[in-house]
């Protein structure tokens, strides 16, 4: 789309995220909440919606909701009522979903995102509420029947609803990435959009800049990655602006994202809207959140991404780029934190993670959880380097591969057995340099005459003669002294 056309319009986006909570059991029963189990195996009569059953609140889902609320600076609701949302569907065995309607566990709050210009923008939250997931309808296995798997029925969800404050697909992307990071750092949801443990619906409208009323809102569903949310929103913005430009009315409707084509297609119009007939769930007592409960949860909160960013940049002196890079994936952030609890070479630890370690992970396509070298190993390597016992290059080229093979050994043990402990004795080194000078009289004359580009040649020869054990810094220093003498 022509930028000039797009710039005539203000885009208004609100997102609804459903985050599946990684509690051990379901929201209203003791059935297991294990992803990937055999279909219809995590189902007691409660999950099956059998007559005579009653829900039982899993307090963990309340606690997880409070955690997220604290992290987003939301107000935590004291008196929590549950409600029933009534509708018929094959994967909803009770014919209603237990949710929170009038009293969401959290109201207000915000999630800060970083804009491309480096500024921070707070995306306001309307509410976060607890509800149970439905089962899963499967239409593509049996050619004649739809199949229903009720393992997911009753799994706790947090629905996180933003204010209509997201102004572009890029902001939506950033917001989702931030929320995913948050739920992962809080360890309440694995944030995996591909597996559906985090899902997102987008409400999108456009209006001419300065307009007083929002444009007609379109809801887009079925986006199974953060990237696809961005693509879908992008498509939808363009579609709506094109309609506006042609003076065609935009219909309030629900559209689905068609990933292969990168487009959105109509799922249902406004007339298909359900009357959910919400009313208070009479089978559950209201849940009262005490101040003490909030304090206990606060005390147990882990460091959150933004708090880590402040520590990394202010205390550890990392660049914002490096800090964000490490924080991006929780497990890597944790790994880094473990290294720096053992060493004060914060920058060195960061370099190791972003260099040697990340390229190893990328090369083998593994996560840090599958990585055998421990933070203790890395801290030890840093110590060996910092005390000039080994060189940076032998650490990454020789010691690191050896540790991958024998992670049960310490770095020092391996450095010794590989004979990597470098010679930092200046007398020995001086002798080696003299030998090289004698061996290459021509070059020696030229470098002493000022042809400094030969320094590389001499460094190489010295390293070779010392079997790679010469400390490069020390060697360089001595070599310079001898050239000038």
């Amino acid at each position: 789309m022509d930028k000039a056309v797009r710039d005539k319009y203000t885009v208004v986006i609100g997102l609804e995220i459903h985050a599946q909570l990684n509690t051990n059991s379901k929201a209203f029963s003791s059935d297991s909440n294990q992803y990937g189990s055999t279909p219809n195996s995590n189902v007691s009569p409660i999950s099956l919606g059998h007559p005579g059953t009653l829900p039982r609140l899993n307090e963990k889902s309340i606690e997880f909701g409070i955690k997220l609320g604290i992290a987003c600076n939301s107000d935590i609701t004291e008196y929590n009522e549950f409600s029933r949302k009534n509708y018929f569907y094959a994967d909803l065995p009770k014919g209603y979903q237990i949710t929170q309607f009038d009293t969401p566990i959290c109201t207000g709050g915000h999630v800060p995102i970083r804009l491309s210009n480096g500024e921070t923008k707070n995306i306001g939250l309307t509410r976060i509420h607890i509800e149970e997931d439905s089962g899963k309808s499967i239409h593509d296995i049996d050619p004649f029947n739809s199949l229903v798997d009720l393992n997911r029925a009753g799994v706790p969800l947090l629905e996180i609803v933003t204010e209509p404050e997201i102004a572009s697909e890029e902001e939506a992307y950033e917001y989702l990435s931030e929320v995913r990071k948050l739920v992962r750092y809080l360890d309440i949801c694995d944030g995996n959009m591909e597996e559906g443990s985090m899902r997102c619906d987008a409400n999108i409208s456009v209006m001419l800049n300065g307009a007083k009323e929002f444009g007609e809102k379109v809801e887009v569903k079925n986006m199974n990655s953060i990237r696809n949310v961005k693509r879908a929103i992008s498509f939808e913005i363009n579609r709506q602006i094109e309609l506006c430009e042609k003076n065609v009315e935009i219909l309030s409707e629900t559209r689905g994202f068609d990933a292969p084509n990168g487009s959105t297609i109509q799922m249902r119009g406004k007339e298909g809207v359900n009357d959910y007939r919400f009313f208070p769930e009479p089978d559950l007592l209201p849940y009262v959140v005490t101040e003490a409960k909030i304090e206990t949860i606060k005390a147990e909160m882990p460091m959150l991404p933004n708090e880590l960013l402040a520590v990394y940049t202010n205390k550890y002196g990392l660049s914002e780029y490096d800090a964000l890079n490490i924080i991006e994936i929780k497990e890597i952030g944790t790994y880094y934190n473990q290294i720096v609890s053992l060493t004060s070479n914060y920058k060195g630890a960061a370099n190791w993670i972003m260099g040697t370690i990340k390229s190893h992970l990328n090369k083998f396509g593994i996560t840090i959880a599958e990585f055998s070298v421990t933070p203790q190993h890395i801290a030890e390597i840093l110590l060996l380097i910092d005390t000039h016992k080994i060189s940076n290059s032998s650490a990454s080229k020789k010691l690191f591969p050896a540790l991958l093979k024998s992670p049960e050994k310490t770095a020092t043990q391996l450095a010794e057995s590989l004979d990597l402990i470098q010679n930092s004795d200046s007398d020995d080194l001086a002798g080696v340099i003299d030998e090289i000078f004698t061996k290459f009289p021509g070059e020696t004359g030229r470098i002493k005459g000022g042809e400094m580009k030969l320094i590389g040649f001499f460094m190489g020869q010295i390293m070779k003669a010392s079997g790679g054990k010469a400390d490069p810094k020390m060697t360089n220093k001595l070599l310079m002294q001898k050239i000038k003498s």
């Binding site: 009569p45 099956l48 919606g49 059998h50 007559p51 005579g52 059953t53 009653l54 829900p55 039982r56 609140l57 029933r84 009534n86 018929f88 094959a90 065995p93 009770k94 014919g95 209603y96 739809s146 229903v148 009357d275 007939r277 919400f278 009313f279 009479p282 089978d283 559950l284 007592l285």
Partner: protein, 473 residues
């Protein structure tokens, strides 16, 4: 024993002395049920499991290890779950359905060695006041088989009245235990909301439903409550309050009894009921109790409030019967939409459909405030006023029903007239208080009727104590 059973303690003595056995008892009940089949009280008898239980009980009696209810033969209303047994709430929609678990009340009865003999007919989904709304035909009143036994727990009432078991369980959402108790001359209790766990009770209206026993004697009612009551992790609305020794309750000292003016002066009150009611008031006064007429002024709001709340909840509670997961599925169904529409159209009876539609309506956008929200407000008013009365009085006394049992078909064309049957009973459900119907009256046609006593929250012990005294009036 079976046919001249009076109360459990007497029967227990007979068991202990060996003059009867649980096996004999079960066998003679099974024979009697068969010979009284025309009453249509039992939908099914559990001969095999009941006899097996009876054998175990007889062993335990001999060994001296028998529980509190050993050998008590109990029938269950067909909305109480009993593991591996059919349960249908007298509806076609639960065709072929067997429960995967036993409800808490049933578990607790079994743990004390009671014997479950079968399941009892009721109005479909406990919706009705005459037991004419069962998919399996009406239950007849054993006192006069041209009359209804009341509902919805009609089968449970008749089973006890006609000596087809020692005691039975019903459920009471708006009077479904007390009204049939009144019509059949039995003792029917609706405990405080939350006193007995609802786990395993197939819901009609969750905020009103309570399980309650039908018995011949007040002390049996107390004994059964003692066993079934108490907190339950499977029902978070159940109360954790400790369970009193109900069975040993005695009435002490003079009591203050409130009579609601609107009940006393109610237009629909039959002369026989009114006369006996006034007579009882006078007798209580004569015994030194203080009986006073108080204004309540919400009697006319009771039934509408009750029907809005109960139907709203029912419309949601009954959504699970959709033809997809279990129970009845229409053979005409071709896709998901027609599975719902046809299965529910064919599977539910008229009264159930009427209430689902009414309940759906009062919860709909645009009507919620006018009906459901307003009913909740009136309910709160009723609760507050009731609490206020119990600040000053120990009990509230009313007739259980305005009249004795009516003829089959009498109210069948007029659902509103049928709903007004509940005028004195819905109060205890809306407010949550315990109430009992005591068989204290008989009209000129020889039909029994009950007098209802309501107590403060969790005042069952006092309720039983005073009931024993009332039974001597």
């Amino acid at each position: 024993m079976a046919s001249n059973y009076t109360n459990y303690l007497t029967y227990r003595e007979a068991l202990e002395s060996g003059s009867t056995t649980a096996v004999n008892e079960v066998k003679s009940f099974l024979t009697e049920i068969e010979s009284q089949k025309h009453l249509n009280a039992f939908l099914e008898t559990f001969d095999e499991t009941a006899l097996a239980q009876a054998e175990v009980v007889d062993q335990k009696i001999k060994q001296g290890t028998a529980g509190k209810l050993a050998g008590m033969v109990i029938g269950l209303k067909d909305n109480l779950c009993y593991k591996d047994h059919s349960v249908s709430v007298s509806s076609k929609i639960l065709t072929h359905f067997k429960s995967l678990f036993s409800g808490t009340a049933v578990e607790r009865l079994l743990a004390e060695d009671a014997i479950i003999i079968g399941r009892l007919n009721c109005d479909e989904f406990a919706m009705g006041s005459s037991n004419e709304k069962s998919a399996f035909g009406p239950v007849l009143n054993p006192v006069d088989t041209t009359r209804v036994p009341g509902g919805s727990s009609g089968g449970s009432a008749v089973a006890v009245a006609a000596n087809l078991c020692h005691a039975s369980l019903g459920t009471d959402t708006g009077g479904s235990v007390r009204q049939p108790a009144s019509f059949t001359g039995t003792v029917g209790l609706k405990p405080t909301y939350g006193r007995i766990s609802r786990w395993g009770l197939i819901a009609y209206a969750s905020s009103l439903d309570q399980i309650g026993p039908f018995t011949k004697a007040v002390q049996d009612s107390a004994l059964l409550l003692e066993v079934m009551a108490g907190g339950d992790e499977f029902d978070t609305t159940s109360s954790q309050k400790p369970v009193d020794a109900y069975a040993s309750a005695k009435s002490e000292g003079p009591k203050k009894v409130a009579v609601l003016r609107d009940a006393l002066e109610s237009e629909g009150l039959s002369p026989a009921v009114k006369a006996r009611f006034i007579e009882i008031i006078e007798k209580l006064k004569a015994k030194g109790h203080q009986v006073e007429v108080v204004d309540f002024n919400l009697l006319n709001q009771m039934v509408p409030t009750y029907y809005v709340v109960s139907n709203a909840e029912a419309s949601s509670n009954l959504s699970r019967f959709d033809g997809i997961h279990y129970g009845y599925r229409s053979e005409q169904a071709t896709d998901i939409e027609s599975t719902y529409v046809k299965s529910r159209t064919e599977g539910f009876g008229t009264e159930v459909k009427r209430r689902i539609m009414m309940g759906t309506f009062v919860l709909s956008t645009g009507y919620y405030d006018a009906y459901f929200a307003k009913a909740q407000k009136v309910r709160r008013l009723i609760q507050d006023k009731t609490k206020a009365i119990f600040q000053d009085y120990d009990f509230v006394l009313t007739p259980t029903t305005p009249h004795a049992a009516f003829k089959l078909g009498h109210n069948s064309d007029d659902p509103v007239a049928m709903y007004l049957e509940d005028i004195f009973t819905v109060h205890a459900n809306l407010a949550g208080n315990p109430a009992i119907s005591l068989p204290l009256g008989t009209n000129e046609e020889g039909m029994p009727f009950g007098i209802q006593l309501m107590a403060p929250f969790f005042g069952e012990k006092e309720l039983f104590g005073f009931s024993e005294e009332m039974m001597k009036l």
